[in-house]
């Protein structure tokens, strides 16, 4: 219990966590450090989540350091070096414009990672806002909101995001909005379920009994107590969001050439797949590895944050 509650807050506001850790250097000394230590212990016990964490960190670092790590600029055209197989000068080979695929995959990490984070961020933000309001208000409003969410969920998510992206116009921003929109109901359901449980707790009644307004209670008491599952869901979702965003780009509804985006690269490499296997394979492998990494990491995070599911 203790671990779950406070670590969710730490992760939520890293700056505040640092301040807390500092202020905690009194009688209750070591609780925050102790929790971090315990989290590390749980993570270490499960090698798969450790691998997940490794992949997430590696992809993140590569994305941050792209200008330094990439051997070539991602869009440097060299027509003399078209479609070269992997070799010492181009580890992942080159594409039909002679661009270095390794560099494009590295720069693509920026696009994909930020797409994943933004999509999940938007989804979780609106999910928390709508879900907690729905759960706290209840009654007809709640029913209406939840039925609307059911309608959205009833569509196959990829088909719905394709339709939305196509309607909004094919570019990466619209693709992200479309994917995020389709993710919102998942978070709404999650948060509403938690909110329904939390709002019956005595501390919510106590807050009301001491004169707090409904909105204050939702923001200060209900939302913080629903964040743990949201965090787990979000970490598990990033992989899927990257996958879907890439899928939209692959279908021509997301990032447009010449943007170095993994899905778009796979799409243009598709034409060469029989003779120049490396063109589509490396960006595809990057998607695969990143998605697996986030999923494994999400599983590990759930084990840490939710003791009830701990194996």
């Amino acid at each position: 219990m203790r671990l779950r509650e406070s670590s969710s807050r730490e992760r939520e506001v890293p700056a505040a966590a640092g301040r807390r850790a500092g202020r905690n250097a009194d009688g209750s000394r070591g609780t925050v450090a102790g929790q971090l230590g315990y989290s590390w212990y749980l993570l270490r016990r499960n090698p798969l989540s450790l691998i997940g964490l490794g992949i997430v960190l590696a992809v993140g670092l590569v994305a941050l350091a792209a200008p330094v790590v990439a051997p070539h600029p991602p869009d440097a055209v060299a027509l003399a070096e078209r479609l070269l197989p992997p070799g010492p000068s181009h580890w992942f080979g080159t594409d039909e414009m002679g661009r270095d695929i390794l560099s494009r995959v590295i720069w693509g990490a920026r696009v994909s990672l930020s797409a994943g984070l933004i999509i999940v961020g938007i989804g979780a933000f609106f999910g928390i806002a709508i879900g907690s309001a729905s759960g706290a208000i209840g009654g007809v409003t709640d029913t209406l909101i939840m039925r609307l969410m059911d309608v959205i969920l009833a569509f196959p998510s990829l088909v719905l995001s394709m339709a939305l992206a196509a309607a909004l116009g094919p570019n990466l921003t619209n693709a992200m909005l479309a994917v995020a929109f389709v993710r919102i109901p998942v978070y709404v359901r999650l948060v509403r379920g938690q909110a329904l449980e939390v709002r019956e707790k005595d501390f919510v009644r106590a807050s009301r009994a001491s004169g707090a307004s409904g909105t204050w209670t939702v923001v200060h008491h209900i939302i913080p107590n629903t964040l743990t599952p949201v965090l787990v869901q979000a970490s598990l979702d990033i992989g899927g969001a990257i996958l879907t965003a890439s899928a939209l780009s692959f279908l021509g509804l997301g990032a447009q050439p010449p943007t170095a985006e993994w899905g778009a690269m796979v799409s243009s490499g598709r034409r060469f797949i029989l003779d120049q296997w490396w063109y589509a394979t490396f960006p595809g492998a990057a998607i695969l590895v990143t998605a697996i990494g986030f999923n494994l990491f999400g599983d590990g995070l759930r084990d840490i944050l939710d003791p009830r599911l701990r194996r």
């Binding site: 219990m1 203790r2 509650e5 406070s6 969710s8 807050r9 202020r23 905690n24 009194d26 009688g27 209750s28 609780t31 009654g139 707790k201 005595d202 501390f203 009644r205 106590a206 807050s207 009301r208 009994a209 001491s210 004169g211 707090a212 307004s213 409904g214 204050w216 200060h220 008491h221 913080p224 107590n225």
Partner: protein
Amino acid sequence: MNEEGVKVPLLTINDLRVEFPTYWGTVKALDGVTLEVNRGEIVGLVGESGCGKSVTAMTVMRLLPPGQYRIASGSVKLSGEELLTKTEREMETIRGKRLAMVFQEPMTSLNPTIRVGEQIAEVIRVHQGLSRAEAAERAAQLLHSMRIPDAERVSRQYPFQMSGGMRQRAMLAMALSCGPDLLVADEPTTALDVTVQAQVLRLIQQKSAELGTAVLFITHDFGVVAQVCRRVAVMYAGTVVEAGPVEVVLREPLHPYTRALLTALPERFSRDERLTVIPGSVPNLLHPPAGCRFEPRCPHGDEHCRASKPPTVSRPTGLGEHRVACWAMDGNQALAGAMNGGGVGERGR
């Protein structure tokens, strides 16, 4: 306090009827509750589970779930001001400032994700408009005044780091932070162990005297009532059956239910005696008895009791008014005679 303030009781509940419409019918949870709490006074509200003590408390606080209950009649007045017609916004300015509440479970009545000091400061900020830092300082002072050692440090702790007794003191600090006129305490010591219970009771008494805060003390424990309350009201199945000064009610109970309760206290029995019980069980509030709600279990009930509700009869005592709702007190001599002659606990008929 002006002259009128002395005369008007702080809290007046008059003939309060609260109903809960359900699929199976209407639950008549409160059936004419009448109760008064004077300024600075600790009044006990006693009764078994489900008799309407908490519904009474939640009605006074106006915290019953909206849309799920109906107030059929009655009034709840705080210093002569009707609470039942106040809007939610008006209630928000009253709750915490003039009316406060502590709950039974100290384990769940503090938010696990917020530091205790911050939770107390929240109330102060809502009502007194102090800055965050001032409120935090005030919160630590309040914890200190609740006899919490090392209050500075405790105010920065999370609820899980505190014991049940400490949490209940923190709850008290929160409830009393704005010096309310009335504290509604819903079984505040039931979840605590006996030694801590005694400390918390003493604390409530001291704070009540110090701040002039009246307390409506809900409990099922006559021992606690005897220890802290000046007056007591006994509830049964949604009605107040007997009310009066603690000494009078506990020494010379007049209502058969109060008598039966007092004779059933386990403390009165030696090791190998069988405990007496009240025969029967609490009436179904969907279809309560038409007359006296205690009649089916009363050893003396007769046709009269079954047919109509008993009126409340008042008699003066040296310590204050003593009110009983029983036909036997309303001139029904045969009944009165039977009650004083026959033993309590066995059915006379």
